[in-house]
Symmetry: D2
Subunit: 112 residues, 4 copies
């Protein structure tokens, strides 16, 4: 991940794109790319979304790449490590969703 | 990242949440979390978004954690490596946005 | 709709919010509110999403209100009539998706 | 608006698309279309977003049309009037954001 973040920095710097990469703008780009994944799945059933044909899978992979790039870039611009942030959140979720209460349920923790 | 993906697998399995984690549903969760970052920035100027107070920064970090978790989980459910996907996309972008054409410009490659 | 747009104008003016209501910011607010609808449906099956309990339905209604407010406001800030835009798009779609090709299919028109 | 909703009903019925138009799927389509507006504005400054060239304005109008269509359709599938929902929300907001507290401030009501 550190390597990826460095490469994105170089990529953006070479193109003089730091000026566009405010956290505000990057948050927009992130949602735009995440929504392109949504677009692929919008009319598929859940079952269909689990077994994609190779062409669709390649499209999803490309969009996942975009999302991973933008979340890494946004985090970097704010001095945040995306993996550290993920681990911290996962720990929080383990407390918010204790196994005995959350098992088999899609309820939000505020509804327990 | 591999470690994170494994921990998310265990987290989901312990709660019997695989049933909810279809790629379709995960793409929705991904956008929901990405939009929570958007919410934080919606009324800030670009300048303000670059210098967040500690409380807001902590909120953003938490949401970045959520996005990183869901993009990793979605990729995993489809047998995709998010870092590999990011590298491949970055390479593509290097060709789509050659430095001499893209420098200092926010134009889409289709508009060159 | 015209009446609604006027009321939103007054609402924003009284609060001196025109300064925040740039089309860029409003497009963010629009997605934020649309994603709050997404959040309600993310773990529901399609079937469950068709028969909501009264409490959930009330939440969705409120979010639909938010989306309708922001799309009307965004359109107004750009001198666009949202209903005219919708009619024009519906007409376009009638050509892009002719009944004989589109019937019973969720394919995108570019895939016909 | 009632007329628009009826036309969308006919449009969807003629194509046998009711099967795809679950509220879950429509909430996804709504966000996809709203994000296409976001895409147009992502690298523009707020100032630039207020004065669009005719070509960009035409693109935004088309996407506004899409959003208006999907919010109307989603509301209709749930037996909700989008305008009534908007009016009710506007009234709520008038209470949540009293003029004396909200004037010139972009703070969330929970932060007053």
């Amino acid at each position: 991940m550190d390597e990826l973040i460095k490469e994105i920095r170089i990529f953006a710097h070479e193109r003089d794109w730091e000026q566009f990469h405010s956290p505000k703008n990057l948050s927009m780009a992130l949602v735009v790319e995440a929504s392109e994944i949504l677009e692929i799945f919008q009319w598929l059933s859940e079952e269909e979304s689990r077994i994609l044909d190779p062409k669709t899978l390649a499209r999803v992979k490309e969009e996942i790449g975009d999302v991973q790039i933008y979340i890494a870039r946004l985090a970097d611009q704010l001095g945040i490590s995306p993996l550290e942030a993920a681990y911290e959140k996962l720990e929080k979720n383990q407390k918010k969703y204790p196994i005995n209460k959350a098992k088999g349920s899609a309820k939000k923790y505020t509804d327990f």
